[in-house]
């Protein structure tokens, strides 16, 4: 495993790797990129599993001994709190998040947006996220896979389509901040029901959403200081299923919502409304007969990114329907937007009222983000029938590996494999001496060596004890750091004063942080 990188480095990698594949994505609209970020942190999971295993293991013993269960719980809590206090582990959150692969699909023309939105910003202190990007021939957009156990809140740039592991698709038109809110679920229940009804009605029909007639109401997930907004479009596989539309809009210029897409038409009606900031992603709406996908063409972008082509739409066929759930602050009315129509205007609405389809474009620049109490995206708390872990920003992640252990002191119970180094040592020493160019004056201590021998025993015994100045071993004391590695070794090799370490399966505390590795290679000079 590589040596884990700090947050700073991680971000660097994030940005770098984000832009590169997106450039290719931009050229090829149907290209889907997966970006691979190699910055996951397996340590919290590892520690958590260790804690759980130990607690389970001693549960019986505690019971046998007559110790209360509460004591066991206290033990666990103390353990966890100590780990968190030590800050040796990043993102060691008490509540375990449901890991689920959360795949972000970016529209083809997302590159611009993403480039400008830079990397997905994770607030400090959150878990590292992994984004995997691959060239996906079938996909039409960049796909991000976020690792499990990601901490909330998480920012998602605009133009991202989020797909949960269950396959539901959420289109993010506005930069979103995903957090957890306990109350969000309830809020969405109603709209979902309503949407379900609407959908049933709408199925097979082309519905047109007229601009200005449908005030788009989006539930604001969270506002961005940057005033980007994202619209989450959620696709559900079945119309009967509860569908969510999560749209976060903010700072979008109001425009007449003009998202009109007859069902089955693989084209998108450019939605003139809501424009997010030019850099933001665009909303796309694609309509599919059985499923609902909304796309807004070129809406939110200042750039003239074309709407998703039919290719994209077809690629989205496999994706469950997208629904937009838009609530805005500005308006209290929530109208159902048919599948086709996507009212572009974001209207502030209380989420408690009906939900709306449509792309959420915040209509009001002063649109304020709903407070976090209305966080729509939840992880565990959602109980939608169809969608379980919405916007769980989890995904596969790599394990990092250590290299260059450097001057780490190894604390392990293993003994070194013996080599017959004694003779070798002498030989190497001799050779080394021969190699080195030492010119010393001809020292010929006459008979000191031998004459002193009978006297040695008498004299030397005393001086040794009092000769404190003889032993000046301060150099090793500098070595005493708190960096410790506990591991197993495959091979330890030494040539003269060059050491090579081939280690495996270990944990280390380095710079106050804990890391785990399955393989570590180190070189050192003594």
């Amino acid at each position: 495993m590589k040596i884990p990188v700090s947050e700073v480095e991680w971000r660097t990698k994030t940005e770098a790797s984000e832009t590169e594949p997106l450039k290719t994505c931009g050229k090829n609209k149907t290209a889907a990129c997966k970006m691979m970020m190699a910055n996951s942190n397996p340590v919290p999971k590892l520690y958590r599993s260790i804690i759980e295993d130990v607690i389970e293991g001693v549960r019986e013993i505690f019971a046998d001994e007559g110790v209360e269960e509460q004591v066991l719980k206290d033990l666990q809590k103390m353990w966890e709190s100590k780990i968190m206090q030590s800050k040796a582990v990043e993102g060691f959150v008490k509540d375990t998040l449901n890991p689920s692969n959360f795949v972000l699909q970016l529209p083809a023309n997302f590159s611009q947006a993403l480039q400008k939105t830079a990397s997905i910003v994770i607030p400090a202190g959150q878990n590292v996220q992994n984004f995997t990007t691959d060239m996906n021939s079938t996909g039409t957009s960049a796909t991000f896979t976020l690792p499990p156990g990601v901490g909330y809140p998480v920012q998602i740039p605009a133009g991202v389509t989020l797909q949960t592991s269950s396959g539901h698709l959420y289109k993010v038109n506005v930069p979103v901040m995903v957090t957890r809110a306990p109350g969000g679920q309830r809020i969405l229940q109603q709209p979902i029901q309503h949407l379900a009804e609407q959908r049933n009605q709408v199925v097979g029909q082309a519905s047109i959403v007229h601009p200005n007639t449908i005030p788009v109401q989006a539930t604001v997930i969270q506002g961005f200081p940057s005033q980007r907004k994202e619209v989450f479009q959620q696709c559900s596989t079945q119309p009967l299923l509860q569908q969510q539309q999560l749209v976060i809009g903010q700072g979008v210029q109001p425009r007449p919502a003009a998202i009109q897409q007859p069902i089955g038409i693989q084209q998108q009606v450019p939605v003139s409304q809501v424009l997010m900031q030019p850099n933001d992603c665009e909303n796309h709406k694609s309509v599919e007969t059985p499923r609902y996908t909304q796309q807004q063409a070129g809406v939110i972008q200042g750039s003239g990114t074309p709407p998703l082509t039919s290719d994209q739409l077809s690629s989205l066929d496999d994706i469950p329907d997208l629904q937009q759930f838009i609530t805005n602050q500005s308006s209290d009315t929530i109208e159902m937007i048919h599948k086709d129509g996507g009212g572009g205007q974001g209207v502030g609405v209380e989420t408690s009222s009906k939900s709306e389809y449509g792309d959420a474009k915040t209509s009001n620049p002063e649109y304020e983000v709903e407070c976090s109490s209305q966080v729509m995206i939840q992880t565990k708390d959602f109980n939608y029938n169809a969608i379980e872990d919405i916007l769980q920003l989890d995904g596969t992640y790599d394990t990092s590996s250590d290299e260059d252990v450097g001057n780490m002191r190894e604390v392990g119970g293993n003994e070194f494999v013996g080599e017959n180094e004694f003779m070798g040592a002498i030989d190497t020493e001799d050779l080394k001496a021969l190699e080195e160019d030492r010119s010393s004056s001809t020292e010929k201590s006459s008979s000191d060596g031998e004459d002193d021998e009978p006297r040695v025993e008498i004299i030397e015994e005393d001086p040794l004890n009092s000769g404190d100045d003889v032993s000046e071993q301060d150099v090793p004391d500098l070595f005493d750091t708190d960096n410790v590695i506990v591991c197993q070794y495959d091979k330890i090799h030494r040539s003269k004063n060059r050491w090579k370490f081939y280690l495996k399966d270990g944990v280390m505390s380095f710079g106050g942080k804990d890391y785990a590795f399955s393989k570590a290679i180190g070189e050192a000079e003594w």
Binding site: F416, A425, D430, A433, R438, K444, E457, S471, Q473
Partner: protein, 187 residues
């Protein structure tokens, strides 16, 4: 200290090996776990401890016998050995003594200003010198009384190993005239 002949030859001491006893049993495992700069050779029942200051490597046995090698002078060897004993004392073996210190072996190199004809040299020093070019490029010359072994190379370089530095000097002095006779003169 002893006068060379007319020529001043540089004798370079490359290695000094010495031994001493601590007069007490040593717990190798404890040394290996708690000491710094140690290598535990469990299969051989010894611990290697390397020192930086006088660059020495010491082999420590549980009986308390310690062999110290790598020093460049006898003084250095003694100093290093004492430091080593001090180190063991600090590790917790209070009973450590520094007794029976003895320099066992000294390795030195000396270069003649001329090249040597080894077959001729070997022939003229028949019992003491042996030369097998197929095995080793140097002629081996042993001096019994001082227990010195010299390797004479055709380049003029001579390697001497002897029990002490003094004997090395003696050995060089002994070999010089013999080698001088068999030198290669530039033609």
């Amino acid at each position: 200290m002893e006068p060379d002949n007319d020529v001043a030859l540089d004798i370079i001491i490359t290695n000094v090996v010495c031994v001493f006893r601590t007069r007490c049993h040593l717990n190798l495992r404890k040394i290996a776990l708690e000491g710094s700069n140690v290598i535990y050779k469990r299969d051989f029942g010894k611990v290697l401890m390397k020192l930086r200051k006088p660059k020495i490597t010491a082999s420590i046995w549980s009986s308390g016998k310690i062999i110290c090698a790598g020093a460049t002078s006898e003084e250095d060897a003694k100093l290093g050995a004492r430091r080593l004993a001090r180190c063991l004392q600090k590790l917790g073996f209070k009973v450590v003594k520094f007794t029976e210190f003895k320099v066992v072996n000294v390795l030195a190199v000396c270069t003649m200003p001329f090249e040597i004809r080894l077959p001729e040299f070997t022939k003229s020093n028949r019992p003491l010198a042996s030369y097998e070019p197929e095995l080793h490029p140097a002629a081996l010359y042993r001096i019994k009384d001082i227990k010195a072994t010299l390797q004479v190379f055709s380049t003029g370089s001579i390697t001497v190993t002897a029990p002490s530095v003094q004997f090395i000097g003696t050995a060089i002095e002994q070999i010089y005239p013999l080698v001088f006779e068999c030198r290669k003169t530039r033609t």
